[in-house]
Structure formats: C-alpha cells, structure tokens
C-alpha cells in the first residue's frame, strides 16, 4: 500500500539519517574533565566560624586542631535546557585542620579527606559527564587538595569591636579531577578578613581572590578561572555556665564565589548560606574545646553550592597568655 511504502521509506530515511549523524554527533561530544567542586573551605583550626575567621589569635605560642565532618547533597548539578544531571550527588568528607599561632599570626594546614563522592553519568549538551567514584573500599586512604595558610591580624585586638586581617593560602593539588576533588593545579587564595565583637554580637567577613589557573568555561556547570571570594557571618554570643566558662554563638554564615570572567553572572556564581551554632570554651592558658554544628543550603546553586549541607566540627585550641620564647610577658591588650 502507498502508506506502507511511505512508512518503510521514511523509516529507512530516518535510519540513514541517524546512521549519518550519529558518528558526527559522537565526534562532537567531549568528555568533561572534572574540577574541585567544593567551595566550602573550612576555616583554619581555631578560627571560630565554619568559613569565616574570628581573628582572635593572641598570646604566646599556641595551637589548634580541628576535625570538620560534612555532607553535601547535589553540590554539582549540570543543566542544559531541560537536561539535568547530578554529576556529584553526594559528597561526604572529613577535614583535618592544624594551626600554630603566635601573637597575631597563624600558620595553618587543612587536609581534606573525601569519604564518599558519588553521582550520575550522562550527557548534557555536547559534553559527556562521568560520575565521580570515591568510596572507602576503593579509595581507603584518599586525601584531596590540602591548604597551607598564613593569617595575620593587622588591626584590632581580640574581643574588640573591629579587627582587620589578611590571609594567604596555597592549595596544593592531590587527588583526581575525575573525582571532582581537585583541579590538579596549584591554586592560591588571598583574602582580606574582618571580624569583631560588639557586646553580645559577633561578626566576621571576608573578601578575596581565588587564583585558579583552570578554566573549563565551555563545559556546562563548570567554573571559569579565577574567582572573587566573599562572605559574612554574624550571630549572638551568649555566655554559658558558671563564670561564663563557655560561650554559645549562633548565627548565619553566607559565603560564595563568582568568576571574574563572568562577574556575578547567574551561571558562574555560587552562593551558600549556613546557619551555624558553636559552643566554645573561653578560659585562657589551658586547652579548650569548641563544638560546631551547621545546616545550610545553596542560595544560588552552582558548582559547589549544594542543595543542602550539614557540617559538624570539633576543635581543640588554646588561648595562651604565657612568657614568650624570649622570656618577656605578653600583654594581650597590646599583642
């Protein structure tokens, strides 16, 4: 019948069309390479907030150790029109932080240990995404990028209403781009920090430059080179316990990053909010503990800003007010 012939002919034509086009489409597809997806950079051990820095280094030689456990849901979802893919759907990690302080200076080391990074594979636009695959069985000893930082308080005093500081960090690559836990290049961050305590209100903030040599700009959902870092935090600081040996600080932290190549453009800006609370010891000249809990979500959900996030932290730190190495006394009011 004519209709049947037409159906067969159209079917053959369609098959030919697919056969002709398929190789060219396959050739046009590119493999997404991966990058360091996380934009939640835990602050230096002893710095107080989850991301911001209280800049309260003081006294003689002191130190801090910190463990931050975190889980992020969908920190990387890639979309192109109606196509959506959770390339990184689940990310759990443990960050080990160590810091040495001396008067107004701090030297820190942060080492991130991915516990699990999983997601979905698929094609979005002309890019093929392979899901990351980090799990304790296959990767029993993985550490990803680590950060070495130097922070200094330039103005202000611990407990004062305004403190200004500067921070420099070097990010040393370790891991695999395909697991979305590294850019596989050296990176650095230079930040201006501010913080203060006004009565029962504590605040902190940052503005900085994240120097990233890697630019995957044509890949959907990928960051575009160097970024501006920004963030602010504020909260109530309430004394707890007899003699106010503890303090409870509750308040939000908002932080994000935007690519200079596409300044604050919707697709190249990640913004995240975290409601955090911390209980911290306030005594001096002895080891103190700080317990932290934060729950948040991506406000502008792009690379690294997740659908939601939960973080737990525990720190041991001290606020030394002791003789210095040279034997003179430290005056914490004029450190």
């Amino acid at each position: 019948m004519p209709s049947s012939s037409w159906h067969r002919a159209s079917t053959v034509l369609a098959m030919l069309w697919v056969a002709i086009l398929s190789p060219s489409r396959a050739q046009a597809q590119q493999q997404a390479q991966g990058f360091a997806v996380e934009r939640f950079y835990p602050s230096a051990a002893g710095a107080g907030w989850f991301v911001m820095d209280a800049l309260d280094m003081q006294g003689d030689l002191g130190g801090a150790m910190a463990l931050t456990l975190g889980y992020a849901r969908n920190p990387l979802r890639v979309a192109d029109g109606s196509q959506k893919l959770s390339v990184v759907s689940d990310e759990a990690s443990a960050d080990f932080g160590f810091a040495v302080t001396y008067r107004r200076f701090r030297l820190s080391l942060n080492m991130d240990m991915p516990l699990a990074i999983t997601g979905d594979s698929g094609t979005v636009g002309s890019y093929v995404f392979a899901h990351p695959s980090v799990n304790p069985g296959a990767n029993p000893d993985t550490l990803s990028d680590y950060r070495v930082g130097f922070d200094a308080r330039i103005l202000g005093q611990p407990g004062g209403s305004f403190r200004l500081g500067a921070s420099a960090q070097l990010v040393i690559p370790n891991g695999h781009r395909t697991d979305y836990d590294t850019d596989d290049t050296f990176r650095s961050m230079v930040r201006a920090l501010f913080a203060g305590d006004v009565g029962h209100f504590a605040y902190a903030g940052q503005l900085g430059l994240h120097i990233r040599p890697l630019d995957d700009s044509s890949t959907p959902g990928s960051p575009r080179g160097s970024e501006l870092l920004f963030g602010a935090a504020g909260g109530a600081k309430l004394p707890v316990g007899r003699g106010a040996d503890w303090a409870l600080v509750v308040g939000p932290e908002v932080f994000g990053a935007t690519a200079f190549r596409s300044f604050f453009a919707a697709d190249d800006t990640a913004l995240e909010g975290l409601l955090s609370g911390r209980l911290e010891g306030t005594r001096v000249n002895r080891a103190q503990l700080r317990f932290k809990l934060g729950v948040g979500a991506g406000i502008d959900q792009h690379f690294g800003a997740p659908e939601w996030r939960i973080v737990l932290g525990i720190e041991m730190f001290n606020r030394n007010q002791r003789p210095t190495l040279l034997g003179s006394q430290v005056d914490v009011t004029n450190p």
């Binding site: 240990m113 029993p140 002791r322």
Partner: protein, 499 residues
C-alpha cells in the same frame, strides 16, 4: 601545660628516657613506612624545643607533632641472567616480571607528619598524612623477600602522592603494677602507664605498629634499607597495597609479658589498594605472645607470632590443576584481576581465586649484648599454599644481624649494622613458577628453585642531631628464588631527617 622544673629538665628526661629504654624498649614501634624511633633529649625536634622553653609538658602531653623526611636512592649493577621476562609477549606491552639484568636506579622520597591528641583519660587519637614519590627497580618485580628498599609501595609513582597513612584511636586501661614512662614520640604521647594494662587500638594503621616489633632493628628509616629486615619476609599480613589496614587490636601487658590479638582488613584482590571492609568474612587475624627479659643485665625479648588470613586468593595447586585440565585456562586468557602475564602456556591464579586460608608462625628474638649493641633474629614458616595477598611472595624466612649505635666510638647518634636474610618458597609454589606462573612480584617464566638471600650492611652518620646520612651495600643472590639469575650487587644512599 607548662613543665614543672623541680629537678633539672635534662636530668629528668634522661632518667625518664633510661627508664623507658629499660622498660619499654622492646615495644618501640617498627613499621612499614613506620615512625621514627624515639627522640632523645639531645636530639633536635619540635616538641623538645617547646619543652625546653617551658611551653609544653612533654611528660604528660595533650598533643604532639613530629615529622620525618627520607630520601633513598638505590643503584643496581648489571648482573648475569640466562633469561629474563619470558612471560612477556613481545607484541604486547605488559611490563616486566623479572629483575632486569641491566643497571638500574631506584628512589623513594617520603614525608610524614605524626599528629597525636589526647581525647580523654587513657584515650588518644593519631593522624598521619604521608607523601611518597618512588621509582622501583624493574617495576618492583623480580625480587621475592629481599626488596632493596623497605619504603617501596605497590601503588607508588614518581609523581608525589599524598595519602592518609594512619588514623586511629587508642585506649589504655590501667590494671595496676609498676609505673611505666612512655616518652613523647611519633605515635606516642608522653605519659605514664601501668605495667599491667589493656591497650585497645581501632582505626587505620599498619599492623607493624603493634605486632612483630623489634627494638634492635628499630625504625627501618634509621637502620637496614632492605625489606627483609623490617619484619618477617614470610609474614603476609593483610593490608592495602601501601601496607596499611583497617581494624582493631587488643594488647594485654602484664609486667614482662604481653599478649596481642588483632583483626585487620585485606585488599579486595591480592596486592590491590582497594580494601575489603567485610571483616566478618575476609580478614587477617594475628596473635602474638611476648616476654621481655634481662640476660646478664642486658634487656632482651622473645616474641611468638602466628597469623591466619581468610582472604580471596588463589591456591597454586588449584591453578596448576585447572590449567592441566583445560589449557585454555592459562595466564594470557585471564577473565578477571591478574598480573598481566601474556604467557598462554602457563597457569594463572586468576582462575581459582576464592576465599582461602593462609597460616604462618614465627619467632622474633632480640638481645642487647652491650650498651647500644644488639642482635636480632626472626624466623617464620608460612604454609606456602596460596599466593601473596599483601606483602611479598616468601613462604619461609630467616633474618638475623646486629645493630650498634656509635657510643662505642664516641659518635652516639651514628648507627651501623649488618644483617643476613634468607627466604624460601614451598615446593608447589616453585612448581607453579617453573611452569611460567606469576605470583605478584615474581615469575621469570622458568625457575631453578633456590633460596633467595641477602646480606645488607649500612652505616648512618648523624649530622646536626636530626639528620642522618646513610651508605648501604646489599649483596643479593638467587633473586626471585631463581638460581639461574644473579647474584646482584646493590648500593644505596639515604638521607633522613626528623623534626
């Protein structure tokens, strides 16, 4: 906490160190990629610096931090071998399975930080990140139990890799007895414990942190370069490809006696990094009994160690039987994890891997003959029925030697030693290799079975109290348990720093 100075600090630390030496020297850590040995008061390190300035109570620590840096270079002279790499198909790039007879150079570089933190009474946490870069000889193939550099790992590369070497909790429960001073060291917070105590460890560590320690061979980063002297060559302790495991140990110390038990994770497949966490199904069990003694006024110790692995491995007899029954089940046609052999006329363990048991028992002796001069002996017998799961292919091993510190010649931080090591394989293991089979590191294609032996001599010169420069010579015969190959002369140099 600030150190109290009721008596001079240096005197106190010397006394504490002497007490610790007498009481706990046999229990010093000794590990693959292990921690540096105990830091003496005169040595330079970060914790001593803080303590000397009254900024840290090194005897009752809440935290400590140590580090080490080690670079080892090895050079192998050309040697005679009638055949090499007969398992490699010339048309296929499949690497090497023999120790190459040409001159070669190998190196390792490691950097480690040792963080310790006291959590609560008797509770301690340790975290050790480590960086390694390496290039082995012949792709780490062709040598059985006497690999020339103990730092070499199965997954290493010349590009530095950072990984978490250790992350574990330790809980000490005092049960009375005398007071034992534990000096501040890597993986040890300075404290005082009971001579009768229960020590529980859980997490990620190397089993050599707990088992088969020997204070004479001590920290391999300060003594012998050859792996034959780090532990029993035939001790196939389950671990990932770097030598680390997850699991738990329990140690009961009762004055001069110690009884230890540990269960740790194996790799998912032999010699792989991926770890099998199903400890109820696949595991390595070990038990050790230790007695510390004094002979003619000098300390010594005797340790009996037994292990039982229940892991996924292949039996040599089953691999041979499978091949003889069906030659299609050969090394070149492996369906799963294998060692990459392209020898279609050889059997392969890949066809017969299933949960198997491996057993071994060994003895470890140490005895000081004079101040700072000690001798050691280790001997182990493993059943030799299954392939190497995690360490090396030796089925039986013997090592002995002597180590002396330079106090005899007025250089107290120098160290010198000479050691002799032998290892053997079982008859069925030899038959499998002679048929062209590959077992992890070895498989020349043919085999004239012999014991593999090594003599290792070294001298470490101490510089600046924290840096050691070592010269090392090794003479290796019958590499890969093959009398047709070798002998091999190897020279090594090491620079090691602690801080």
């Amino acid at each position: 906490m600030r150190a109290k100075r009721s008596i001079p600090f240096s005197t106190r630390v010397v006394l504490a160190g002497l007490a610790a030496w007498i009481l706990v020297a046999p229990a010093r850590a000794n590990a693959q990629a292990g921690p540096p040995s105990g830091h003496e008061d005169a040595a330079f390190d970060f914790m001593n610096l803080l303590s000397h300035n009254g900024l840290h109570d090194i005897d009752h620590e809440t935290w400590n931090l140590y580090g080490q840096l080690t670079y080892i270079s090895s050079w192998k002279r050309p040697f005679g071998a009638p055949y090499t790499n007969t398992n490699v198909n010339a048309n296929v790039s499949a690497g090497t399975y023999s120790l190459l007879p040409t001159a070669e150079r190998s190196f390792t570089g490691t950097f480690s930080l040792f963080f310790g933190l006291r959590l609560w009474r008797g509770g301690e946490a340790y975290f050790v990140p480590e960086l390694i870069a390496e290039r082995p000889l012949s792709g780490l193939h062709g040598i059985g139990g006497a690999i020339q550099n103990f730092e070499l790992q199965k997954t290493g590369s010349a590009t530095p890799q950072l990984y978490r070497a250790r992350l574990f909790l330790r809980q000490t429960v005092g049960l009375g007895g005398e007071h034992v001073v534990k000096t501040s060291d890597p993986l040890q917070l300075g404290t005082v414990v009971d001579s009768r105590r229960l020590v529980l460890t859980a997490g990620n560590f190397t089993i050599l942190d707990v088992f088969d320690r020997n204070s004479v061979t001590g920290d391999p980063r300060q003594t012998f370069l050859n792996m034959a002297f780090m532990t029993h060559a035939a001790y196939d302790f389950t671990s990932d490809a770097r030598g680390y495991s997850w699991g738990g140990t329990a140690e009961l110390y009762w004055d001069e006696w110690a009884l230890r038990y540990g269960r740790i994770t194996p790799p998912q497949n032999p010699n792989q990094l991926a770890t099998d966490f199903r400890l109820w199904e696949h595991y390595g069990d070990q038990m050790e009994l230790e007695h510390d003694h004094s002979l003619f006024g000098r300390p010594g110790a005797v340790r009996l160690l037994g292990y039982r692995n229940h892991v996924v491995t292949g039996r040599f007899d089953e691999a041979i039987a499978a091949f003889e029954a069906n030659p299609a089940e050969n090394a070149a046609a492996c369906p799963g994890i294998d060692y990459g052999s392209k020898n279609s006329s050889a059997p392969d363990l890949c066809w017969v891997r299933r949960p198997n048991v491996k057993l071994g028992i060994g003895i470890n002796l140490e005895q000081y003959l004079a101040k700072d001069v000690g001798v050691f002996l280790r001997a182990m017998y493993s059943d030799g029925k299954t392939e190497v799961d995690a360490y090396n292919p030796a089925d039986r091993s013997l090592s002995l030697g002597a180590v002396a510190k330079g106090s005899l010649w007025q250089r107290p931080f120098d160290v010198a030693g000479v050691g002799f090591g032998m290892s053997w394989i079982s008859a069925i293991h030899a038959k499998y290799l002679a048929m062209g089979g590959v077992d992890g590191f070895i498989g020349d294609g043919y085999l004239r079975q012999a014991a593999e032996g090594v003599v290792d001599g070294f001298y470490s010169v101490n510089l600046l109290k924290a840096v050691w420069l070592t010269g090392d010579y090794q003479f290796l015969w019958n590499p890969g348990f093959n009398a047709d190959r070798g002998p091999v002369h190897m020279f090594g140099a090491r620079i090691h720093a602690e801080f």
